[in-house]
């Protein structure tokens, strides 16, 4: 039983990372209607920035905040420069553009920073607690804490501020929003900017324990996609809940089905498949019902 609970905790910890990245995917999808395949690589580059700053003797938390700020601006710039010109194009074109970004950002990162494994200093002490024989690591606590803080800040921003109202209005109906004077383009940039900053934070935290290299974010992105699909691509709440579910499903599969090598990789793809078959809008996504 304590093994089960320990794995549950681990699952929630890694799930928090998938949830963060899924949240980033949802922010982009809600506003621009794009599945951003490059979200993980954007986070990878942001994490390299964190490493770079720590190499220049910045404290790691400052390095993370600095990288988040740069990513925020970078995300907005990517929307404006790369996405805006193809905004009206077909979904297929948009998929190709974000896959192109995936390859480009990954290559740029490796050219710029090299492809050896980089070790990031930990942003917090590595501890483990054993309440009632259940192992809880500081990793899990920090990841979950960060996720909760992200959710709270996003909730307040989207539901309690004027800019958040405008952001949701644009996500729902850009044309009507424009007609009441909302600068739609700037809201789309904000979506990409927030997504990039969230990705930077998730990347820095998930990579610190294991080291950073070119492929660091790729499997995490797959899990994040599974989470966003399961939760519903237009639901931030869904992304978070589903991220945790996917995380727990992953660790449990590894724990109890370890006879089959790499079996846990089946989990995200299996989930995506099942969701698409059974409930394409996801657990929390809106199947649009509207009266006319």
């Amino acid at each position: 039983m304590s093994l089960f609970l320990t794995q549950l905790m681990n699952g929630i910890g890694s799930g928090a990372v998938y949830a963060s990245l899924a949240l980033a995917l949802v922010l982009v999808f809600r506003t621009t209607g794009i599945l951003n395949f490059a979200q993980g690589e954007m986070a990878l580059y942001s994490t390299y920035l964190v490493w770079y700053f720590t190499q220049h003797d910045l404290p790691v938390w400052i390095a993370i905040l600095l990288s988040m700020a740069i990513s925020f601006v970078g995300g907005a710039a990517i929307e404006r420069v790369l996405i805006r010109p193809v905004e009206q194009a077909s979904p297929l074109v948009l998929v190709i553009v974000t896959i192109g970004m995936f390859l480009a950002i990954n290559s740029i990162a490796q050219v710029q920073f090299g492809n050896d494994i980089k070790l990031l200093p930990r942003a917090y002490p590595n501890k483990t607690w054993l309440p009632g024989n259940v192992q809880i690591s500081s990793d899990t606590l920090v990841l979950v804490g960060v996720l909760l803080a992200e959710c709270l800040i996003l909730y307040l921003l989207l539901n309690r501020t004027r800019i958040g109202l405008a952001f949701r209005a644009v996500a729902s109906n850009p044309e009507s929003s424009r007609l009441v004077g909302v600068p739609v383009g700037r809201m789309l940039m904000l979506g990409w900017a927030m997504a990039a900053a969230i990705g930077a934070l998730a990347g820095a935290l998930v990579v610190a324990p294991v080291g950073l290299q070119g492929a660091s974010m790729q499997s995490i992105l797959v899990y994040a996609f599974a989470s966003a699909a399961l939760g519903g691509f237009d639901s931030p709440l869904g992304a978070v809940v589903a991220g945790l579910i996917v995380g727990v499903a992953g660790t449990m599969t590894t724990q109890y089905l370890h006879a089959v090598h790499d079996i846990e990789l089946v989990v995200p793809f299996g989930l995506i498949l099942v969701v698409l078959l059974v409930r394409p809008s996801g657990l929390f996504g809106s199947t649009r019902v509207e009266r006319v």
Partner: protein, 236 residues
């Protein structure tokens, strides 16, 4: 007196397809003007050209400033509120949030009193203030769209077929409210409609648009007496 909105030689279309072939009309301060026309005449295109949703050529002078070629958010800021065809409800926002976003360009405590004010004009909206706009009936969504437009305190409201898809009784009530808004508050309106009977009751003047060209114009009474208009748009 100079007109609030002065449109001349307005040309617009979609891609290579020209819809408006240079039309002229005007709306005075405090006036309701209607543009009548059949499907495909270019009514919606006219409004979209004015509010900057599509590229347009010619001259559009609003409040003594040229607005042609400016971005929709700038034109909204200049004082034009466009209620689009099909109401343009922001489905995922609540009724109250729809009103609030209408005041996006304004600040200050008067926003709250304006919300109360339009709730008293449209009491049904007040009862459902926390409900998602997407779950409201067509008539209620039209009220939301109009209240949202008025939240901007516009100098001119553009209404694109307000009667579309509404039951006759709902439409009549709506036009009564629009008449009140014009008489009591002096709100200027440019209305495009197929329902000529109601529209000519509301408006002081009108224009008839046929395949992108204005073919007739005059006071509402003159148009209501015009044989061609009666045959084509009033079914008499």
């Amino acid at each position: 007196m100079t007109a609030l909105l002065e449109v001349s030689e307005l040309r617009a279309g979609y891609g290579a397809v020209r819809v408006l072939h240079g039309i002229d009309f005007s709306v005075d301060e405090g006036e309701v003007v209607v543009i009548l026309g059949a499907n495909g005449a270019g009514k919606t295109t006219t409004l979209r050209a004015i509010s900057g949703m599509i590229e347009a050529g010619g001259r559009v002078v609003f409040d003594q400033r040229s607005i042609v070629g400016r971005r929709p958010e700038k034109i909204a800021a200049a004082g034009i509120a466009h209620v689009p065809q099909g109401r343009g409800t922001i489905l995922d926002l609540t009724v109250e949030e729809n009103l609030r976003i209408g005041a996006y360009l304004r600040r200050g405590p008067e926003i709250e009193s304006d919300i109360d004010r339009w709730y008293s004009t449209f009491p049904r909206l007040k009862d459902r203030r926390a409900q998602h706009a997407g779950s409201m009936s067509g008539g209620e969504q039209q009220m939301i769209a109009i209240a949202r437009a008025l939240m901007a305190r516009p100098k001119l409201v553009l209404l694109d077929e307000p009667s579309l898809g509404l039951a006759p009784l709902v439409t009549q009530e709506l036009f009564r409210t629009l008449t009140d808004l014009n008489r009591a508050d002096g709100i200027s309106m440019l209305v495009v409609e197929q329902n000529a009977g109601l529209a000519l009751n509301l408006a002081a003047r009108g224009y008839v648009l046929e395949v992108g060209t204005i073919v007739t114009s005059g006071s509402a009474a003159e148009l209501a007496d015009n044989d061609d208009v009666r045959r084509a748009y009033l079914g008499i």
